[in-house]
């Protein structure tokens, strides 16, 4: 659909876009990413002929860009700007009708039934019926952007370029807009080329991503390869972190935000409190937490861990800062015991049947996510192998929490595992032995 070969162009002597090659297949959602000033917007200007290129070629639908006259080019390719400004007020329908311009010939441009049908079709498609007769400025930013999208669609382009289309919109409009555009690419076979800033939006919606830096191509591939931690951290010159999206097989990008001063140097990581109903473990700062409780999903950051001693419903309640854990319709909890070694703490809570109901480990140190899983597996094995706990019906809920503080002396992972094994074995025997 679109082919760019050795494209070079920009302002003055120093080209902003340098020797760029890429191809976009029909119906693809093609994202262009890169830091500010990397030449994304210039690239769009070169593709649409707003800016004259200095070298290379742009081939649209098998024909050189130069071979098109203005109107026929506008029937092939158009651009949805960030937010076109208008000092005067038009009705929504007036604005959308303007999109028929490239399809009209002659001096007087009579607007006929075909035009009317197409305009109404797009108005319906984008759910703009109730706004059609309103003046454009009376609409919100998101609705206005939809009107401009409608105008672009009425042009019936084969390629729709987007320049940061969701820049001014709140998250709900961003998602709605991107979904709508993605749907167009799929249903109408319109090729979408979008300059995006939001890496996560790009990851979720793009089929292919062109990553640019200083006017040159860094990578061109699907989101998984293009948005590798190395690629994006290098291009944006910022340590970025990549995770996987919880429900969609796409990468999720975020960054390391080290908040200092959360922790002061106390002897103990967490402290134990107990009331009639609840056992509360309070930490000084947030701890990254993983638990085997069915009610929790993946990792979370917690400051308080509450265990309800007596409860009917198997629930974990979560308020903003609290990890609120209610024992299921199991026997009620007894008083817990908090053990401490050099760096870690262990909480064991037994139930009324004298089984271990909760085993919570609090670690002062930094753990990778993979460390959490390895530890969890090991703890499970230790419990299974322990003479006091083997062959027990009831499996304890395991809570694993780490302060994620990076200390100066880097303790080896093996040392941590060894000391935890010691602590847990000791804790279990202490708890269960005594009762026997």
């Amino acid at each position: 659909m679109l082919e760019v070969n050795g494209l070079t162009g920009g302002y003055g002597d120093k080209p902003v876009v340098r020797k760029l090659d890429f191809k976009v297949q029909k119906g693809t959602f093609f994202g262009i990413l890169g830091p500010n000033g990397c030449g994304k917007s210039t690239l769009l200007k070169l593709i649409t002929g707003v800016l004259e290129k200095q070298a290379g070629e742009v081939i649209i639908d098998g024909k050189q860009l130069e071979a098109y006259d203005r109107k026929s080019l506008a029937r092939k390719i158009t651009l949805l700007p960030q937010q076109p400004e208008s000092s005067f007020s038009y009705t929504v329908k007036d604005v959308i009708e303007m999109g028929r311009y490239p399809h009209k010939k002659g001096l007087f441009h009579f607007y006929d039934e075909t035009d009317e049908r197409k305009v109404n079709g797009v108005i319906r498609l984008l759910n703009l019926e109730k706004y059609a007769a309103l003046p454009l400025p009376s609409l919100s930013g998101g609705e206005q952007q939809r009107v401009y999208l409608a105008r672009a669609l009425v042009q019936e382009p084969a390629i729709l370029l987007l320049d940061e289309p969701t820049n001014h919109l709140d998250i709900s409009y961003q998602i709605e807009m991107m979904k709508q555009i993605k749907g167009l690419a799929r249903e109408k076979g319109i090729t979408i080329i979008a300059v995006l800033h939001d890496l996560n939006m790009a990851s979720l919606f793009c089929d292919e991503i062109l990553l640019m830096s200083e006017g040159e191509k860094v990578s061109l591939s699907g989101p998984k390869q293009a948005l590798s931690e190395g690629n994006i951290s290098g291009v944006y010159n910022t340590p970025l972190m990549r995770r996987d999206h919880p429900t969609t097989p796409k990468p999720l990008i975020t960054f390391d935000f080290q908040e200092k001063g959360n922790w002061s140097h106390n002897d103990e990581l967490v402290s134990y409190k107990e009331s009639e109903e609840v056992i509360t473990i309070s930490a000084e700062g947030f701890m990254k937490t993983l638990t085997t409780s069915e009610k929790e999903e993946g990792f979370s950051w917690e400051k308080e861990f509450k265990f309800v001693k007596q409860s009917q419903e198997p629930v974990i309640l979560r308020s903003d800062d609290n990890f609120f854990f209610a024992s299921d319709n199991r026997p009620s909890l007894k008083r817990g015991r908090l053990l401490t070694d050099d760096n870690n703490q262990l909480l064991i809570i037994k139930n009324s049947r004298n089984e271990i109901a909760v085993l919570a480990i609090f670690i002062d140190g930094f753990l990778q996510e993979s460390d959490f899983f390895r530890l969890l597996a090991k703890i499970g094995r230790w419990i299974g192998e322990n003479p006091y706990t083997e062959n027990k019906e009831e499996e304890p809920v395991i809570v694993l929490a780490a302060s994620q503080r990076k200390s100066e002396e880097n303790r080896s992972k093996n040392a941590l595992i060894l000391s935890l094994k010691k602590l847990i074995t000791y804790g279990i025997s202490l708890e269960l032995n005594k009762e026997v």
Partner: protein, 355 residues
């Protein structure tokens, strides 16, 4: 509240015919009022019969006092017609400049075109020029040419500054040229002796005592400029959303922009040539029309023409009756009415009540 808003908009759209009818009526009222107002007492019946009697096939023998008929045909009628065409030209040019430059404050003066015309006219008066073959047409011809020349210079200069001819560059260049030409006019005034009163009077603008010649001069220019702009209504609408946006709609931005500028300066130059500098018509009238009937240039241009024509006729009536038998320059009246009205429009617009 939304609903009533929608209803008022739809009723506005449905009544487009009513709007045009009302505007024609307003223009007719202005026309008759303009002819009858003055020291000689003229009735609508006199006017009708006199005008009909011009046409030989009408067959009505003059039932009007020949003196009155002379006043109507040779003094009042050309004066009113001149006011209509000058007002219409300025308003249409203003509408076009505002749309093209996306600037509600643009008007025929912004681009320096009218300053250029004024310098041409002032030079003719100051030097007492009379070109062979042209005679009394020297002033309008020189004036229109000077206006054009200025516009071409402005565009050439703007292109030198920035090849893409961005709107902001054009406006800035226009302002620079206007200031410079304004200084040239002041220089003429400072150096003038006997011609001073004539110069000042011409600069303040007037549609009086010009006769049919001036009407004949402005009509072709008006027709050409008006038609050119009218067929570019779609392009003008598109330009309102920015040049790049117009480009993406498939508009040949460079060519259409020059075309619209050309047409609008044709109108400005012709108006300035026949009536002097009359301010605020090009600024206020398009605003007013836009607020009442929307920004769509398909209607904005013809409605502005009619409103501008009627407005200038009324302004002319005031200028020659308020201190009768004396006469005020019409530019004074348009500015005295126009400036405060424009201020009010700005205030209410910014408060979101209108527009």
């Amino acid at each position: 509240m939304r609903n009533s808003f929608i209803r008022s908009i739809t009723s506005k759209l449905k009544s487009k015919t009513a709007v045009y009818a009302g505007m024609v009526l307003l223009l007719a009222v202005a026309f008759f009022a303009g002819i009858s107002a003055g020291s000689a007492n003229i009735t609508a019946r006199d006017i009708l019969f006199t005008i009909v009697s011009i046409f030989p096939w009408a067959g009505t023998e003059a039932q009007v006092d020949p003196l009155l008929a002379h006043i109507i045909l040779e003094i009042r009628l050309p004066r009113v017609l001149l006011a209509v065409f000058v007002g219409a030209s300025l308003a249409v040019a203003g509408a076009a400049f505002q749309g093209l430059l996306r600037n509600p404050l643009a008007d025929p003066y912004t681009l320096g075109a009218s300053s250029g015309s004024a310098v041409g006219a002032v030079a003719v008066i100051y030097f007492g020029l009379s070109l062979p073959m042209l005679g009394m047409l020297t002033l309008p011809v020189v004036s229109i040419s000077a206006g054009f020349l200025t516009l071409i210079l402005v565009l050439a200069f703007a292109r030198m500054v920035q090849r893409s001819l961005a709107v902001e560059t054009i406006i800035l260049t226009g302002i620079i040229f206007s200031s410079f030409l304004g200084a040239v006019i002041s220089l003429f005034i400072a150096l003038s002796g006997d011609e001073l009163r004539q110069l000042i009077y011409w600069l303040l603008g007037s549609v009086g005592m010009r006769g049919w010649n001036h009407v004949y001069i402005i009509i072709p220019f008006f027709a050409a400029g008006f038609l050119l702009l009218l067929i570019h209504w779609r392009e003008l609408n598109a330009f309102v959303f920015g040049e790049q946006s117009a480009h993406h709609l498939g508009i040949n931005v460079g060519r259409k922009k020059v075309m619209i500028l050309f047409a609008a300066s044709l109108l400005t130059g012709a108006a300035v040539a026949v009536s002097g500098t009359i301010g605020f018509v090009g600024l206020v009238i398009p605003h007013f029309v836009r607020i009442l009937w929307g920004a769509d240039h398909k209607h904005l241009i013809p409605l502005s023409a009619m409103a501008g024509g009627a407005f200038l006729v009324f302004a002319d009536i005031i200028s020659r009756t308020i201190i009768a038998p004396g006469e005020l320059p019409i530019g004074v009246i348009t500015a005295i009415i126009g400036a405060p009205v424009f201020g009010l429009i700005l205030i209410s617009k910014n408060r979101g009540k209108l527009a």
